[in-house]
């Protein structure tokens, strides 16, 4: 059997159509999009066309509300630091949640440490949900930014962003959502969500790594943090990464057209995986919300087993999975997301994340459901705690 890639929340393969769309921009239309001559103008046109496609994917009113960045992390950094620095005269209070990606958490910590901001972290319930009322209650006179993610990268929980957005709107506070995991998996519309800023990343929906975007609603003022040339309307300096921008545009166009179908397929495969695992392995626990959940995310804790050894064994069988978010999977600390959901260290350590993508098939899912219980059985047979319990 070919290797089975079930780590699409970490990153996805670049779609062949996307790669094909990018190729001419390396060697034929390779101009600098800021150059005034024909080489430059052609590149510029390609960039603007991609901007329209990305705007279209997230329902932005105008393409100019899209600023291309080097990825989701930079988009989050730009949003958080940019809005905070823009409004620091008005106040220095930020509201975020306990389960954000580090690309949001660390910029918040930076603002606390270097610029005297205060950050309120909203807790989540055991299914990973933020309560909008908690956000409303946390708002102060000096709150200048609320940043809550649309969908969590580890457990896939989808937050009530539209409701939180309404609260932010009523109070006149800038609202950012990290939609890196959501875009390409579920419908995302900046107007329905009532957001002022929204981060997305290409490599999560079959565009290349190293390209992303920040949606900035018209009229929202922001301090850039990459200074230099006047690219991206002065909001993000540096020579435009034309091929990757084109690739992201193409991926946006494709996913917009196939979203409904993709969502249905992934939901079906996801539920088959979850139900199959619950049926075939005892003492497992689904992490996150059963329905308010990304169609591609399975996160399950298997008791008496170390997530890491499970990963290694799956890998040996040609199955790529993850135990948490890729960026922190090198560390031995249990995931801050699972801990925030009140899950014990022990259970958190046994968590397994399987995330589906557009290329996964029913047959692959069945294969995993065949292999996984055997590996679990083998590992549990070696586990002293499990044996004690059995005895």
């Amino acid at each position: 059997m070919e290797p089975i890639y079930l780590d699409n929340a970490s990153t996805t393969p670049t779609a062949p159509e996307v790669l094909a769309a990018m190729k001419p921009y390396f060697t034929d239309t390779f101009g600098n999009a800021s150059s005034v001559h024909a080489f430059g103008r052609e590149s510029k046109e390609a960039v603007e066309e991609a901007r329209e496609k990305v705007a279209d994917l997230i329902g932005a009113d105008e393409p100019r509300e899209i600023i291309f960045t080097s990825g989701g992390t930079e988009a989050d950094n730009l949003a958080i630091k940019g809005i905070a620095m823009q409004n620091r005269e008005q106040g220095k209070h930020i509201i975020t949640s306990a389960i954000e990606h580090h690309a949001v958490l660390h910029p918040c910590e930076y603002l606390e440490e270097y610029h005297g901001f205060e950050v309120t972290s909203i807790p989540v319930d055991e299914e990973g949900l933020v309560n909008p009322l908690d956000v409303a209650e946390a708002v102060r006179d000096d709150t200048v930014l609320i940043s809550i993610m649309l969908a969590n990268n580890e457990v896939g929980t989808i937050q009530p962003i539209a409701e939180i957005g309404k609260i932010a709107q009523q109070k006149g506070i800038c609202f950012h959502t990290d939609a890196v995991q959501a875009v390409g998996s579920i419908p995302v519309d900046v107007n329905e969500l009532n957001v002022d800023l929204l981060s997305l990343s290409g490599h999560k929906f079959n565009a290349p790594k190293g390209i992303g975007a920040l949606y900035i609603r018209k009229g929202t003022r922001i301090v850039p943090f990459m200074h230099g040339g006047a690219q991206e309307r002065g909001k993000r300096a540096s020579t435009e990464n034309v091929p990757s921008i084109v690739g992201m545009g193409k991926a946006a166009e494709i996913v917009k057209n196939e979203l409904k179908e993709k969502q249905e397929k992934l939901t079906r495969l996801r539920d088959k995986l979850i139900e199959g695992i619950e049926e075939r392995i005892d003492e497992v626990q689904l992490n996150g919300h059963r329905n308010k959940r990304l169609p591609n995310n399975v996160n399950i804790s298997i008791r008496y087993i170390e997530g890491e050894s499970l990963l290694l064994n799956l890998d040996l069988k040609g199955i790529a999975a993850s135990s948490g978010s890729a960026c922190t999977s090198g560390s031995l600390d249990p995931s801050h997301v699972l801990l925030a959901m009140g899950i014990s260290h022990e259970i958190a350590h046994g968590s397994l994340r399987l995330t589906l993508g557009k290329y996964n098939t029913e047959a692959e899912v069945e294969h995993v459901l065949d292999v996984l219980p055997k590996i679990v059985e083998k590992l549990r047979a070696m586990s002293p705690i499990y044996n004690q319990k059995e005895a």
Partner: protein, 385 residues
């Protein structure tokens, strides 16, 4: 004649060999380098190999190479990162008047925030004033940021002499940052036994992909990161790595530095031919910046008296020749801060054109360009005169 692309300082065509290396991470090894499974480990290996290629070319250790999204980010990271770590050692920063906007703008912002910034003068050849540097540097200086090669006129700064002056102050908390974006594949860079702490590079200027670059951070240099989040790039730069871009960049650096001598010789010869052709064939022209034999091999900046630069750019474009008036990023505002700092007269500045060559540039292209200039420039002068 096919398109004659003489705007290689703005950006370059990606080499086929570079694209070939980028296909593997895009098509097969598409894992996230931080992932623990084989697909991730393989991606991490590709990244490591690319890092080694860059390190080898500039004689650094692989751990000293931090990949970034380009030259702009490398410069921003170097400057702002230094500010955040060294601020308790002083509040004085030194740079030159002719830096790229990705160095100038961060420093101008810092000046507004209350930092003391010295913008060193340059002479008419675009070379910084070493005496002035020696005069203004003090225990209070925490950063000296100098570009190795200027992107508009091709002047090469005396980095070795700068190092000598700076060395005495490095113990009291000072980092030396070099923007080597335009130098990387044209001059030899050897960072073993150098006083350089930070050095910026960019892929798309050396036939690598856009959106890739690196900052060399000498072992032991402490730098606060600009983009924070995951722990990628040894904690200096968060964000899922642009594996294909970095692999392509690594290959471009390797190709550039192994082929450097032959390419540089050819470019230098063609640049001299271009300069000679223009000077012999036209009156009222002036070469801006260093002597034709002295600057980098790929940049020639020329003022054509009585002609507006933009008009000439468009007239040349009509003949399939692509050049620029100056830096691409500022090509919309007509005044060049570089030429102004070199003391050019207004008229000469208005008529300035930058020709920038690459290893793809041919002798025929240069002769064709000279021929066309000889037709166009007198015609334009007639119209305006």
């Amino acid at each position: 004649m096919e398109e004659v692309y003489l705007d290689n300082s703005a950006t370059t065509k990606v080499k086929d060999k570079v694209i070939e290396t980028m296909m593997k991470p895009m098509k097969e090894v598409y894992g996230n380098p931080s992932s623990l499974h084989s697909m991730g480990i393989e991606a991490e290996k590709l990244l490591k190999k690319a890092r080694r290629k860059v390190a080898k070319a500039i004689r650094a250790d692989a751990e000293e190479i931090i990949f970034t999204s380009g030259g702009t980010e490398a410069n921003n990271l170097a400057i702002k990162g230094t500010i955040n770590t060294l601020q308790r050692y002083g509040n004085h920063l030194i740079t030159t008047k002719i830096e790229h906007s990705s160095t100038l703008h961060p420093l101008q912002d810092l000046e507004k925030e209350g930092w003391e910034v010295t913008f060193l003068d340059v002479d008419e050849k675009g070379i910084l004033d070493l005496e002035q540097l020696a005069e203004v540097i003090s225990e209070d200086t925490i950063l000296v940021s100098i570009m190795q090669v200027n992107n508009e006129v091709g002047s090469i700064q005396p980095i070795k002499e700068v190092e000598k002056i700076v060395q005495d102050y490095q113990d009291s908390g000072l980092y030396l940052h070099i923007d080597a974006v335009q130098a990387l594949d044209k001059l030899e860079i050897n960072l073993s036994n150098s006083s350089i702490d930070l050095l910026s590079m960019s892929g798309h200027k050396i036939h690598g992909p856009k959106g890739s670059g690196a900052l060399y951070i000498a072992d032991g240099t402490r730098l606060k990161s600009l983009i924070t989040g995951g722990g990628q790039e040894f904690g200096y730069r968060a964000g899922t790595e642009n594996v294909a871009g970095y692999v392509g960049f690594g290959e471009a650096v390797k190709l550039a530095t192994t082929e450097v001598e032959a390419d540089v010789e050819q470019m230098q010869k063609l640049k001299e031919e271009l300069a000679a052709g223009i000077k012999d064939g036209l009156e009222g022209v002036q070469i801006n910046g260093p002597e034709v034999t002295a600057g980098v091999p790929h940049i020639l900046n020329v003022s054509f008296q009585g002609v507006k630069g933009e008009v000439l750019v468009h007239a040349l474009e009509a003949e399939n020749i692509y050049v620029s008036t100056g830096s691409a990023c500022s090509s919309k505002d007509s005044k060049s801060h570089v030429l102004a700092a070199m003391g050019l007269e207004q008229k000469a500045m208005e008529g300035a054109i930058r020709f920038s060559l690459s290893s793809f540039t041919s002798k025929e292209e240069i002769s064709y360009t000279v021929e066309k200039l000889k037709e166009i420039v007198p015609r334009l002068r007639q119209i305006t005169g």
